[in-house]
Amino acid sequence: MSAEAHYTPYHPKWYRRRVSVWWWLQKGSYTTFVLRELTSVFVAFFALVFLWQLRALVQGPEAYAHFLVRLKTPLFLTVNSVALLFVLFHAITWFNLAPKAMVVRLRGRRVPDWIIAGLNYLAWLFLSGAVAWILLRG
């Protein structure tokens, strides 16, 4: 048998509907999905700012002070808060996805989704706490 079925191309009149440009407004889950795709730009932005910060840190105290002044401008504050919101949105949807991709079996049984997602959230909290502790202790 060949890979292509030969009878379909000669079908008299198939009708193929075009996908509407507004397909992503049809369902809440479609909209969330498109939002996640579009807002990944902000995640990239966050990463770039972080790299920029590292570069300033390497260049010495003066460059770092200059970087901090830049960050405090209203434009940066606004863009950064919007970016933070979307990064959180990405983090949460990502953690909720984790149990789908990771199937952990213990004693022949699948570990329930909420435990896997919960452990991810706990690790997130713990690491954030650890970073906050290192930064704020002095």
Binding site: W14, Y30, R105
Partner: protein
Amino acid sequence: MPPTVTLAVTRYRPEQESEPALQNYEVPFRKDWVVLDALNYIKDRRDGSLSFRWSCRMGVCGSCGMMVNGSPKLTCAAFLSDYLPGPIRVEPLQYFPIVRDLVVDITDFMRKLKQVKPWILRKEEKPLAEGEYLQTPDQLDTYKQFSMCINCLLCYSACPVYGLEPSFIGPAAIALAQRYNLDSRDEAAPERLEILSEHDGIWQCTFVGECTKVCPKNVDPAGAIQQYKLTGAAHWFKSLLLPWGMK
């Protein structure tokens, strides 16, 4: 309870119409009737020319999938009473070419399904005299969920990626590939990974997750695809770190 309910059904007779249009039919409302019962009523009493696929009426055969009020459903499991007061819109599964009325062409899926080799493959078959390949209940449990797929194609109709990129191999085919990968008797997982790591395979999926939501058999194709991505990525890393250890 209303005495009747209206069904707005897609009609497309290629010899008469250039594009599909909805036609209203009034059918008696009965609380134990599903959409498929109403369609059969129309075919028996109102218009014998209405075409649609169905067989078992009990969610096993997977042939009566249609869009009911815009969502992919098995019409044998969609009760009229859940869609009151109506009219209830019944359309062919979206993203598939329409052949006639509610009948779509699923050749594309059949071709893709065959590509992923959904059968048990051994490197070497053991001789018949050695008996069957044994499996423990635990081993069965690892893939059983994915083996429940009835090829009803609701997941393809729910997947906007398939709508926009018809070359995408799609949720059910990937879930079925995973079903055989996880089967302890099968040995062709690397072969399938090669097919599914290609452009039209797992990486086309952007995890909308609707395929899992509409699945009438709780197969969770979205889960299968994400697990597959993890396997694919791990395989890629391994080949990067240990190029001499892989073939």
